[in-house]
């Protein structure tokens, strides 16, 4: 009888630990909300943004899925209304990236390209994972001399 009770308690403890691990974010996805901002005077001119035909992002660090992708919606329409950050800098695009890792850092390497796949601007930044939460961050790309 006593051993039966102890076994039942043991199973209950194991169950609670399992649910606790699930509730604590074990296996949950952590997200980054990333704004791509062009620095300098170019980043404040809307006509310059019309030259951007694609934006490639390479990720590294504590990632669990794809590590290279193209941002959607490029090239933008002529009448596209860009959002702006503080100081009037144009936010070229905003994307979300998720990782299954519970801790660590994720590095975002962004390349803004023209129609010939030449780099117009590039830059990188890293963000620290907050398990199960969404971390807002920005990657500022510096335009090449020819795009300034």
């Amino acid at each position: 009888m006593t051993s039966m009770t102890s076994k039942t308690r043991k199973f209950l403890r194991l169950g609670l630990i399992g649910f606790g691990l699930l509730g604590a974010g074990c296996g949950q996805t952590s997200y980054f909300s990333v704004d791509v901002i062009v620095s300098g005077a170019t980043g404040r001119q809307r006509n310059s943004m019309a030259e951007v035909k694609s934006v490639q992002v390479n990720t590294s660090g504590a990632i669990s899925d794809e590590s290279s992708f193209l941002l959607q919606g490029f090239p933008r329409a002529d009448n596209y209304v860009y959002a702006t950050a503080s100081g009037g800098q144009i936010i070229l695009g905003r994307f979300q990236y998720g990782t299954g890792s519970d801790s660590g850092k994720v590095t975002f390497d962004v390349h803004v390209k023209d129609g010939s796949l030449n780099d117009l601007a590039s830059g990188s930044a890293d963000g620290t994972i907050k398990s199960g939460a969404n971390v807002a961050m920005s990657v500022t790309v510096d335009p090449v001399d020819s795009w300034k």
């Binding site: 909300s33 990632i63 992708f69 941002l71 979300q96 998720g98 990782t99």
Partner: protein, 204 residues
């Protein structure tokens, strides 16, 4: 001691005592002088009579004749023990369709029983398993036993009435639903909010 009036008929012919069967012919009791003199002493008032040689010969002839003749007093149903070994085989044959293990065990038991009753030589000579003690010829056939007749659909699905069956079914259903829900919730496509004008990437 045998009374004189039973030993001899009025015609002075010997009388066979007991049941007149072929098996009891050896017990044929023929009255002799010893029966009348030594066994009975003075019996009755008639003087003792000495059997003549002719009577003895006649008794012997009768003995031979009766021994070879069919015994009408023999019961119609003859016991197996009284049956001659030269008698024809019984018409009744029991065929047991047994599997290999059961047949072997049965043969072994038959051998053991024959070995234990080793005093009876006639029994020992008999092939084990060929004929039983009751004279019934048994044929042991190796092979799969015949399929037992199904007693009906009620017995076939009797397990449905037992609670462990439903406990197992319930457990399976609950576990299946849980696995399905967990899998669905973990792999469902996460909609990309509209604020992300450049899309959503990485893990969902």
């Amino acid at each position: 001691m045998v009374p004189r009036d039973r030993l001899f008929s009025r015609t002075r012919t010997p009388v066979i005592c007991g049941a007149m069967t072929t098996s009891t012919t050896s017990k044929l009791h023929v009255a002799t002088e010893d029966d009348r003199e030594g066994g009975g002493g003075r019996q009755g008032d008639s003087p003792p009579r000495r059997p003549s040689r002719g009577r003895a010969v006649l008794a012997g002839i009768l003995l031979v004749a009766v021994g070879g003749a069919p015994a009408f007093a023999t019961p119609s149903v003859e016991g197996a023990g009284a049956r001659s070994r030269n008698a024809p085989a019984l018409d009744r044959t029991v065929e047991l369709r047994l599997d290999g293990r059961t047949a072997g065990r049965l043969l072994a038991e038959t051998k053991e029983s024959d070995a234990s009753g080793g005093g009876d030589k006639a029994k020992a000579d008999e092939t084990p398993g060929e004929k039983g003690d009751d004279g019934v010829k048994m044929t042991v056939t190796k092979g799969a036993p015949p399929a037992s007749k199904s007693t009906g659909s009620e017995d076939t699905f009797a397990f449905v009435k037992d609670w462990p069956f439903w406990a197992i079914v319930g457990g399976v259903v609950i576990v299946g639903a849980s696995v399905y829900m967990i899998n669905r919730n973990s792999s469902q496509d996460r909609a990309c909010p509209g604020v992300y004008n450049a899309g959503c990437f990485g893990a969902k």
